[in-house]
Symmetry: C2
Subunit: 417 residues, 2 copies
Amino acid sequence: MDIKQEVLQKAQSAFAAAAALRVAPDEQRNAALLAMAAKIRASVDEIKAANQLDMKAGAEMGLSSAMLDRLKLTDSRIEDMAVGLDQVAEFDDPIGEVLSETVRPNGLNIQRISVPIGVIGIVYESRPNVTVDSAGLCIKSGNASLLRGGKEAVNSNICLAKMFAAACAEAGLPQGCVEIIESTDRQGVQEMIRMDEYVSLIVPRGGHGLIRTVVENASVPVLKHDRGLCNIYVDASCDIQRAVPCINNAKTQRPGTCNAVENLWVHKDNIAALKAIVSDLQASGVEVRGTEAVCAVCEGVNPATEEDFDTEYLDMIISVDIVDSAEDAIANIQKYSSGHSEAVFTDDAAVARKFLSEIDSACLYHNASTRFTDGGQFGMGAEIGISTNRLHARGPVGIRELTTYKYIGVGDYLSRK
Amino acid sequence: MDIKQEVLQKAQSAFAAAAALRVAPDEQRNAALLAMAAKIRASVDEIKAANQLDMKAGAEMGLSSAMLDRLKLTDSRIEDMAVGLDQVAEFDDPIGEVLSETVRPNGLNIQRISVPIGVIGIVYESRPNVTVDSAGLCIKSGNASLLRGGKEAVNSNICLAKMFAAACAEAGLPQGCVEIIESTDRQGVQEMIRMDEYVSLIVPRGGHGLIRTVVENASVPVLKHDRGLCNIYVDASCDIQRAVPCINNAKTQRPGTCNAVENLWVHKDNIAALKAIVSDLQASGVEVRGTEAVCAVCEGVNPATEEDFDTEYLDMIISVDIVDSAEDAIANIQKYSSGHSEAVFTDDAAVARKFLSEIDSACLYHNASTRFTDGGQFGMGAEIGISTNRLHARGPVGIRELTTYKYIGVGDYLSRK
């Protein structure tokens, strides 16, 4: 079967399954999730065997040890996937909620009701747990998923996705609720992002190159999870002692994540804060890259280039500059930010208000770490990613963000005047 | 200046203006709307002179009298545009609303706040009032607009858009808040729908061909206003006498609109209703096209082809078939519907529930005309169109649907655990 045929067949199968899922009660969707959790727990050896094929191929391909580590499914990682499904099943049903209701003067009662999106195509790389996490969130929110994972994890992904399809069947839902594209040829991605007749949303999770390819070529709407080039501004008036650990947290807690800070802007009247932050970061092993002005007042700082401020390091590196004012900081942030998360540290309410209102990013913080941009931290439970879209959903994307709505108007044999 | 240059320059100008609009208070946005209304009222002759150029060119191009009528700006149509702006200025501010708020166990206060989308590109055809209506709704919701109207109305559109830009300047906002692409070469559309760096949303208003071109080629997200292939199902149990005028209303009140019904499905046990509806429609001058089963029981019905049920007539024509059951009607509607609006007429609550839950269209009605799908009827005030998207906004798109949101997290020097 050629790739286009495979993608078309699976998109159609998922489309048919989505119609069944749309009217499936919460209990049935939860039963599919719990059946999958049980299958995972009963099939640890089978999953590890499939993963071994990927690990072996990965080693032969010369994947880095970091990549191989992300790929590897251990007993505890397998159990984590099952626990994740148990937790998703516990969430409140996001479907059928009355989001708003109005009765018009003519008596027409109009309700806006949450409904599933349909078929969600997910394009992702490397870690095989994404297969289970994503399909689980889709099932909970009444959506079928069309999965297309990375080549490195193909055996693990196919094993898990087929197990999930079987779990759906056990719960009386179509197997097509979870479809996986087995071909890892890039053409598969190109095909799926053009099938707007069957696929309602594409969620690309991966590097900037993948995201741009999808955005530029998709006819299906895209919910993108793009770069996190996060910024922090330290104002003239802030509690230095209390700000220092927050900035350390934003940079070092998990430097490889999209909500880690990459650029730091410090007010010229707060060189004391600058020095304290820089030496604290350096003590944690962070390479500080600074402009000339920063190098002039801090020790051990490497010179920063313009390009550094435009780089998502995802590493123990930070770019630092001194600004003349909050306006200046805001202008710089608007220039370099990817619209993900930014924070201001200040005790000046007017500066905070200005920062929070003028900067146009998905998540803005006052006296809090950018690391809070996360579904769990927001109280959403699990998330499928962090949206850098402006539309439909911004920031953490949980099960509610995987729904849309429809209007239901009820009248007593009403005509329009 | 070549077309690409023109579009780029205007997109950048609108992008810069959007940053100013984002933080402009409601009073300032309203001042721009009212200044534009005043300008319109003071410039009736100027507007009519520009419109005359279009009317003359249109007559030379051989536009139909219906097209010429849509193009024509009369005194009353010009006053309607001004009144429309007055009304939009009266709406509640859709920006800065706290949509939800939560305090996390660690003390982080998270608010979800409504914000403007940014630059909205609007591609439209013929009627010049769309220039004023669309730009007005964008200004009210804090968005800059990048307009690209049809060739037929180019002089009227440019005249109105420039007047609006000047009105913005009078209110202390950048002229770039309303930009119009003057070139009517099709390449202009191709350029603007690829400028995702500056344009956040494209709203195409026009025929199915235009919509498909935009969906297939845009890198900017699209809020489409596609066909309205609306369906009505008349169940076995309904109040025939009261249903008949509702169905007449859905077909004949304004047959050229997207919420007019095109296909009618009647339960086989309600031939009395079928006959009453058909003869009532015929008495109103509607051409009824029916399947063999319909022709066998109703007089004066022309034979319908499969293609008829897939056609948005936008005219005094309706396709009719008899179905065996509600399931059968639902399956047919899912097959032919464009996901816009459908109605069921029944006194059986179970049938109504099934219809409303299983059909996956933007607006569903029980015992009410499909004609209610309209911003005014929904109590939204003016609308920019009816979305047939599944995402971001479905159904009538008013000023609230022209907003998105951001999260603001406030802590007391909080780090993530």
